[in-house]
């Protein structure tokens, strides 16, 4: 049976650490090892960065859902902005890295699955999935 924990966070950079610490605590409760916890912290931070940078104005919140099941931790980061333009995303050239554009690549490298959904035209949902051993 799934259990869900929800947060709503102001669209401000100073609150990303709150989400990151919450993610770390939940992952530790699920007996994730230290490497998995660090992976989850970073991937969640990158998704929050995306929500802030591509989301709505600072006076609107974005939402985070932690969905816990025996086999996996699923984290949804839901913003209400103009939508991340997924078609514009290009995998970074790691031989000549740019100052921006590493966030999606990092999430995909650290999580078992990353799904970016902009289909509802009302913002972006990034679904991060980490399988639990």
């Amino acid at each position: 049976m799934n259990e869900k924990i929800s947060l709503s966070v102001p669209n401000k950079t100073e609150y990303v650490s709150v989400v990151r610490m919450t993610a770390a605590f939940i992952a530790s409760q699920l007996d994730c090892d230290i490497d998995q916890i660090e992976d989850i912290k970073l991937a969640v931070s990158e998704a929050c960065n995306n929500a802030i940078q591509h989301g709505a104005s600072a006076d609107i919140s974005y939402d985070i859902e932690f969905i816990i099941s025996p086999q996996k931790l699923e984290i949804n980061i839901i913003d209400h902005g103009s939508g991340f333009l997924q078609t514009a995303y290009k995998e970074p050239n790691l031989a000549d890295p740019k100052e921006n554009g590493l966030g999606i690549f990092i999430m995909q490298s650290l999580m078992d699955d990353v799904i970016i959904d902009t289909s509802n035209q009302l913002g972006t949902t990034i679904k991060l999935i980490k399988n639990i051993n």
Partner: protein, 104 residues
């Protein structure tokens, strides 16, 4: 955890040495960016980051370091990262930045 930065200049090595502790994320990376820009404006030199107490860095922090490396490399200087924790070293590896920066 807040980001704490201590810096000093070693003239005989032409090296800005920064000791970083805490976390570099989208909130704190702006302060690091501004500081490095100030240091480079004051004196272009090598930059060495002591990272043994740096517990977290994200893509915004890496972006600051990439920008700094590009800037000082124009004058044949290099950015070095010393003693990264395991999670920071892993991130440098998966992004290929361990080949762009000196990592010890």
């Amino acid at each position: 955890m807040a980001l704490i930065i201590r810096q000093h200049y070693v003239p005989e090595q032409e090296n800005w040495q920064l000791t970083l502790s805490g976390e570099i994320d989208i909130d704190s990376s702006t302060r690091l960016k501004e500081l490095i820009e100030q240091l480079i404006a004051q004196k272009t030199a090598h930059i060495t980051l002591e990272c043994s107490e740096l517990s977290f860095i994200d893509s915004t922090g890496l972006g600051v370091l990439i920008s700094a490396q590009k800037r000082i490399k124009q004058d044949d200087y290099q950015l070095t990262i010393n003693n990264p924790k395991k999670n920071v070293e892993k991130l440098l590896h998966i992004t290929g930045l361990n080949k762009i920066f000196n990592v010890n």
